[in-house]
Amino acid sequence: MTDLADSAASGGTLTTPVSEPLLKVEGLTKHYPVRGGFFGTKQFVRAVENVSFDVRPGESLGLVGESGCGKTTTGRMLVRLLESTSGKITFQGEDITHAKGTRLRNLRQDIQIIFQDPYSSLNPRHTVGKIVAMPLQVNGITPPGGVKKRVQELLDTVGLNPEHYNRYPHEFSGGQRQRIGIARALALQPKLIVADEPVSALDVSIQAQVINLLRRLQKDLGLSFVFIAHDLAVVRHFCERIAVMYRGEMVEIGTREEIYERPSHPYTQALLSAVPDVTKIGRTKRIKPEGDVR
């Protein structure tokens, strides 16, 4: 793992010393049992195997890899939507690997998630106001000035019209829905946001709008991000540090420059060479990885 200072340059204001990570992940592992054997022969799908990294305040860490590499599973373990098989997650110096009850609820105020699909991640029967207010309600928080005022502030922050408070998700386009999801994630003023493919379901012109919004929020609010995506160009644009995953394992982690200019792992090199380059016209030479990801 690389320790560095230059990565924080564009990461907004730092309140804590660089040396102290906000989130620390050590040896995180998730195994799913398959076909529980008749005589106790158990087999496992090793979805995530021994993954370690840390995220400093105000930093955004990119998690890239192909489908099935375990990046989403990792993200879900961080927000504790999935229980890890082994390993340790430390948030602000506190071991949260198996946090339960009130502690878990408090933790969820600090760590939020943005989902990939803006269509299935919003309840179609709830108004936008209700959706964004939900995290406040669940945690029994009444912000100064009332819930409605806070929700309207949030809608304004993410670039939606605060008057659309009473509308339903179907009245919004994909990009606007993703903004609603972002407003909901911001409701509790989290310190860390896990963004799982937040722009991959959107049209290109809309993608750029949402990426710019996330970058602005990161700067203005000093947020930390774990940014999960398969699009290497988007990750390069958004993250100062990038971890590359392959078949459940982390094969490389480094700064933007290290990963994109001097990738050392053969898989990273293959991945990068597979991205069609807009600046080059015609067939390009690629490094071929063997086989298919399953």
């Binding site: 489908s67 012109s205 016209i281 990801v293 399953r294």
Partner: protein, 357 residues
């Protein structure tokens, strides 16, 4: 709607295998008439690839579906001309189109899992596609052909794989199987509608390479529909950029990617992050959302999202721009901006953002 009566200046290559002239596809709905495609003209020669770029609702998929005659004639109004190997299929009877479909024109869909039948073995499905156009072929012949095709598209152990179901295939393998099915009758024209969007980059690279190899081998014409400009620059010879059901810019891949002239093309290029250049620079998105095809803005359909609307008087809001020459041969453009303005704006605002840098 303001329609200019002057005929489109676009010339269609008379030798091209596919020639589309002033194609219009409209769907009457309860809410009004959806002008999904509103006057598109293009042509593709054998051995060439045309890339069609646009966002959702730009009419790119509807265009390709009409080339295959896949629209329900009871609910669709189609006008214009689609000539495939010299036969105009607009207004043709379904039975006649069926004879062309699969044999002369084939399609690769975006989502191979929903395009393959889950109940039938992959080999059986490919053999069926072969038998439709070769009724005299025996079951065994068709199956041999299917296994052959699976082998050609690079599926290892084709004999065993042919006896498996789609769910036993990985995403990339499934897409290969679909390509095998599309190519089983040696079609002269292949339409690929977002063929790699659902795939990982390494698999995408393999599929694109495969398509190129097969194109070389069969000398087929390919229409590649995608929103990914990277894919376009890699495989296309010519590019058609669509917006709101109409072409806004068309030219060679070199012209569109290196010397784009339309503000929408600029917007697309500037909003895509790049693997090179300054990662700290903000992307320049296109403001707003794609328009509704029922109620397109008057004048230039792009005007509410265009930064430069109104630069040239009131024209953007009152008159729909027609495709005109953008200067170089083959480069056509539908925009009211003057050539000097376009050059100045491109140099000042666009050249340094996103992948355009």
């Amino acid at each position: 709607m303001t329609t200019s009566t002057s005929p489109a200046e676009v010339t269609v290559d008379p030798d091209a295998y596919l020639q589309v002239r002033d194609l219009k596809v409209q769907f009457p709905t309860e809410d009004g008439l959806v002008r999904a495609v509103d006057g598109v003209t293009f042509s593709v020669r054998r051995g060439q690839t045309l890339g069609i770029v646009g966002e959702s609702g730009s009419g790119k998929s509807v265009t390709s579906m009409s080339i295959l005659g896949l629209h329900n004639p009871a609910r669709t109004k189609i006008s214009g001309e689609i000539s495939i190997g010299g036969t105009n299929i607009v207004g043709m009877k379904e039975e006649q189109i069926q004879r062309l479909r699969g044999k002369d024109v084939a399609m690769i869909f975006q989502d191979p899992l929903s395009a393959l039948h889950p109940y039938y073995k992959v080999g059986v499905q490919i053999a069926e596609a072969y038998k439709v156009h070769h009724p005299k072929a025996s079951k065994k012949e068709a199956m041999t052909r299917a296994v052959d095709m699976l082998d050609r598209v690079g599926i290892p152990e084709p004999q065993r794989r042919a006896n498996q179901y789609p769910h036993e295939f990985s995403g990339g393998m499934r897409q290969r199987a679909m390509i095998a099915m599309a190519l089983v009758n040696d079609p002269a024209l292949l339409i690929a509608d977002e063929p790699t969007t659902a795939l990982d980059v390494t698999v995408q690279a393999q599929i694109l390479e495969l398509l190129e190899d097969l194109q070389e081998e069969f000398h087929s014409a390919i229409i590649m529909i995608t929103h990914d400009l990277g894919v376009i620059s890699q495989v296309a010879d010519d590019v058609l950029v669509m917006y709101g059901g109409r072409p806004v810019e068309t030219g060679s891949v070199e012209q569109i990617m290196k010397r784009p002239q339309h503000p929408y093309t600029w917007g697309l290029l500037a909003s895509v992050p790049s693997l090179h250049g300054d990662a700290g620079a903000d992307l320049v998105p296109i403001k707003g959302n794609p328009p509704s095809l029922i109620n397109l803005p008057t004048g230039c359909a792009f005007n509410p999202r265009c930064r430069y609307a109104g630069t040239n008087g009131n024209l953007s809001f009152t008159e729909r721009p027609e495709l005109r020459s953008a200067g170089e041969a083959g480069h056509m453009l539908a925009c009211h901006l003057s050539a000097e303005n376009r050059q100045r704006i491109y140099a000042e605002d666009i050249a340094h953002a996103g992948v355009a840098q």
